[in-house]
Symmetry: C2
Subunit: 617 residues, 2 copies
């Protein structure tokens, strides 16, 4: 037997007990004729005391960092207690020990503040995983997994496994494919999600399905994307949108409670996609803080994604009036957007210059930034004093709800870029002003997305969510009764499809989309119309999705669902920006596993068996 106890469990009430522990040598400290060793395992650290009698043995078999040993000894009270660790009251007076395995000197220190850079830690991921910081992340991930399963089980959901070797039906993202040896010239695809399978399960009557499941997308990897990622994938039958929202805000609240001890008792806020775009400049707003955007020019024009999106709740033309002047930059701009940054009116020139530089960065791409300081004494000071009288500045301040002491930031330019920049600037100011507290969690449902986006290149519609998303019930007739073809590309916005809203919803947590879903199409005719709208011929639709269209002929129930990005959810709950920190064996930005050195070349024999050959440029 290697151990009777773990390194995390011994306490004062076990003093005088004879125990055997096993683990890794964290530190070795020699004081004259005695040696202290901190022994570490998954559960904690226990101090070992090697007395004088054992020194010759230790000299013959010296212990080093990360050696694996087993020791037998007696628990005794420490004279010098360590209040930082749960086992800090005791130590083990070692009677005998055995080295189970030696260790070379690790290439970086196994500590929270390791000296190892990202590359070396990834190469030696098995050592990086020993660090407490990483272990805590994987423990959190398991806790989220467990909490999700428990909630869904209680709610009557069944975990049903769906296949990994499926059919390639590229829509949007690229599939990873798998050559079939037994069916020469043919390929499986790895699932981008179990979407069609979970819908079939609803057709089959399973009612409440879930899976925590790997999905695959062969995309060019942005900083924080992985080619394989995990979803909490759910589907329900006989539901409307409201049923889904209730069920899954319940899931997230349960996870908050189980994993973080947070009682999220407040109502989960909701916004429409239009409102979110208008007030925050993006569809996953961080609502831990205000600083909403004010559009100071208010023509009924179009913006991001080229969809009409001025919500009916906007305040009218007051903002527009405030802006009237001879300032050509604002007059010529398609859009002028203002943000009132609270308590920043005393920003120095250096600070405002810094912000100007920030918006000029290529990632933001603006030409400049104007300011209005709303001084605490009620006066105004602005970088555009020349064009705006104090009264005008006051009117602008009023239009964007600025208070005394605020600093108004003004961006002008083309609508889409300016709104995006304003959104980024708002987040940046939120960060600078410490308004984005990682220990505060704010949920938001974003609803009523457009069903379609316009694809300029092909002059056709693409599905904003996916081709299985249902339009709002009130828009079904519009969809069925109109030809999806866009005859006049310049006037695509006048096509009835431009205004169709989807029965879709995203859940946003602290400015991150953590989940998204929709009520699905369950009528064959409507699904066929959707495929046609996306430019698929009836033959292509049948070839790719014949099984689904077929299923809809045999009594498909109304159904809908949602999928949560499990990696992202864990990283936000763990207070981190990076999903890689929450994946045991992640890949780098080139899709490589540097520890395994994968992908790699394979044998010619393998290629031949698979009836493929390389086609290198």
């Amino acid at each position: 037997m290697y151990r009777t106890h773990t390194c995390g469990e011994l306490r004062l009430n076990q003093v005088s007990t004879s125990v055997t522990l096993a683990g890794w040598v964290q530190t070795v400290r020699k004081f004259g004729s005695i040696t202290f060793v901190d022994l570490r395992d998954r559960y904690g650290i226990t101090q070992l005391l090697f007395g004088e009698a054992l020194q010759p043995v230790l000299d013959a078999q010296p212990l080093g960092r990360e050696y694996v040993i087993t020791v037998t000894g007696t628990v005794q009270e420490r004279s010098n207690k360590n209040t930082q660790i749960p086992t800090g009251d005791i130590e083990i007076a070692v009677e005998e020990f055995k080295i189970l395995n030696k260790s070379a000197v690790p290439p970086f220190t196994i500590t929270d503040d390791t000296d190892g850079g990202d590359d070396i830690r990834m190469k030696y991921r098995y050592l990086d995983l020993r660090r407490n910081a990483v272990k805590k992340n994987l423990e959190l991930r398991y806790a989220v997994n467990r909490a999700a399963r428990n909630y869904l089980h209680e709610q009557g959901f069944m975990d049903i496994e769906t296949p990994f070797l499926i059919k390639s039906t590229p829509e949007g993202a690229r599939d990873f494919v798998v050559p079939s040896r037994m069916n020469a010239g043919e390929f499986y695809a790895l699932p981008q999600s179990p979407q069609t399978f979970k819908q079939l399960l609803m057709v089959s009557g399973y009612d409440r399905y879930y899976q925590i499941v790997k999905c695959f997308r062969d995309e060019d990897l942005r900083a924080d994307r992985q080619p394989e990622f995990t979803q909490i994938d759910c589907e329900m039958a006989f539901v409307e949108q409201e049923d889904i929202l209730q069920m899954f805000e319940g899931l997230i609240k349960h996870i908050f409670k189980a994993v973080k001890g947070i009682d999220y008792t407040e109502k989960v806020e909701r916004t429409t996609w239009e409102e979110a775009m208008w007030m925050y400049g993006n569809d996953k707003p961080d609502i831990r803080f205000g600083m909403q955007l004010t559009n100071l020019k208010f023509p009924q024009h179009t913006f991001v994604n080229k969809q009409v999106a001025v919500p009916s709740t906007t305040k009218g033309n007051a903002e527009h009036a405030a802006l009237e002047s001879d300032f050509a930059v604002f007059n010529d701009a398609e859009t002028v957007i203002a943000i009132a940054a609270p308590n920043c009116s005393e920003y120095t020139r250096k600070q405002t210059d810094e912000l100007v530089e920030w918006v000029k960065r290529p990632q933001i791409g603006m030409k400049g930034l104007a300011f209005i300081k709303c001084n605490t004494d009620g006066s105004f000071k602005s970088s555009i004093d020349k064009f705006y009288s104090e009264e005008k500045l006051a009117a602008i301040a009023q239009a964007c709800g600025a208070q005394k002491g605020d600093l108004i930031l003004l961006l002008a330019g083309a609508e889409e870029r300016t709104r995006k920049a304003a959104s980024e600037l708002r987040l940046e100011m939120g960060k600078r002003l410490n308004l984005r507290n990682p220990n505060e969690f704010k949920l938001l449902w974003v609803l009523d997305f457009p069903l379609f986006e316009y694809a300029e290149d092909d002059n056709r519609w693409v599905a904003r969510h996916h081709p299985f998303t249902s339009p709002k019930p009130s828009d079904i007739a519009t969809m069925i009764n109109n030809n999806p073809a866009i005859e006049n590309a310049a006037k695509y916005l006048e096509h009835p499809y431009a205004n169709i809203k989807a029965n879709a919803y995203d859940m946003v947590l602290n400015g991150n989309e953590i989940g998204g879903g929709s009520i699905r199409i369950f009528q064959r005719e409507l699904q066929e119309k959707m495929f046609a709208a996306l430019g698929m011929s009836p033959e292509e639709a049948l070839h790719k999705f014949g099984f689904l269209l077929g299923a809809f002929e045999y009594g498909a129930p109304p159904h809908g669902g949602i999928a949560f990005g499990f990696d992202r959810l864990c990283s936000i709950l763990g207070g981190s920006e990076s999903i890689r920190d929450f994946i045991a064996f992640p890949k780098n930005n080139s899709g490589r596993d540097v520890m395994l050195d994968a992908p790699s070349s394979i044998d010619d024999k393998q290629l031949t068996e698979l009836s493929i050959k390389l086609n290198l440029a």
Copy 2:
């Protein structure tokens, strides 16, 4: 809202309640001016009564089998109760209804005793999944999944996800591979199991890992194999074999209790591989019944897998002596094996002829079968009376422990084939005598497997379990201190490696291997020796498994684990022979998903992006 209740929950105490139900039309029965409809959902069936007032509406919108409807009405007591179903005391007096979706006539009946053949049910799997028989299997699968997770969680195991896009290291089975677009000419492999990852997690200190995870093997599919299958995959650190056996017989007992309500209080039996081969002729014996094999010739010779395997527990030469006679067939045979079939002494000529035919089938391949009837009056009657006196027959009966009333079956021939045939014959007799009760569950640990098998073609060793399995501690020195090369192929049995036993174990349930595992090698030197023994050059070992060899340099703890075949376990618990019945979307024997029609051809554009082209003969 589509429903207030499910079709499985209404009872007499809800009479007079107004309810809304939704589901599928199972049957429509018209009696004069009223119509009864059985409405089905996941939870049950409820009878609907459409009264006279609704008949015109029904006439205008007739209901058909598998139509999806929602109905509102009042719960009332049935005059004609159905005691077969939990809702049989009540019915719903329908006030209004709505057809949510129509259904074409299904290609087969959605009933337990469906009229649909295998092919059509697989093509319309989404309809097959509606059948109660299939639903019960998937519910059982989920229950096993849940029970396994709960037990492992209580025991401190953590679910840690390992990657699916890994490195191809073909050993034994073929890998499925995935061309990498971003790394032209390179391929990922899909994991045959998370073996090396779970070992790395032990090196990382995670101590108790589990996963219920898909694995992939590109093998020619036998009747009941799937290219993708699910494992309950587990690993522990600081353990010896005994710890693993205790932990995982606990897991299976917990599953028995949670899923089948069975208290498996008896001790789980254990046998060595040698004993199993000797007494049952195979390494996964069904011990629900006896009928052990008796080897009537007892030279110390070799058999199955060409390994020495006569256990020290065999009884000596009594059996051999019993067989002495002039019967050339037995005298010339390498082996003569007897089975005493209980209470079969009165078998008719027709019955024994049938058994002779059975052993002559090509799958069994024996030339004949001899019989000795142990009559209830103490006399003997045999098909080989000519060569054996009554005393000799009595001696043979005694040697194989036959009782009055038994029928002794005797097979003679080459050792390996005869033993295999005897094993099959034993199972067949068990079946014929109803000794293989599907509701009885008998577990068995098979221990002490040979570490190596001899591969004749390459004149080298192959790993019987896998290359990471540790030899028994007492055999480590033998392994380290000998050159694995086999100089004289004819005398490979004299090579010291032929007798090395593995620290490996299989769990057998009712004659099926449901799980297998081993204590792993955790020392770099020993692992290198293993790779060398398998014919891998040091360079190849480093190329394929450098990460593991590297990990063993930094304090790898002793560790071991096990993996259970989840599909198989479910099918045995469900009393079925076929794992396909327990997989939501299985593939056929050509690895095809006939519902999806996958695998399928992919676009040239996809091939080009992946830097491959087809290489069809």
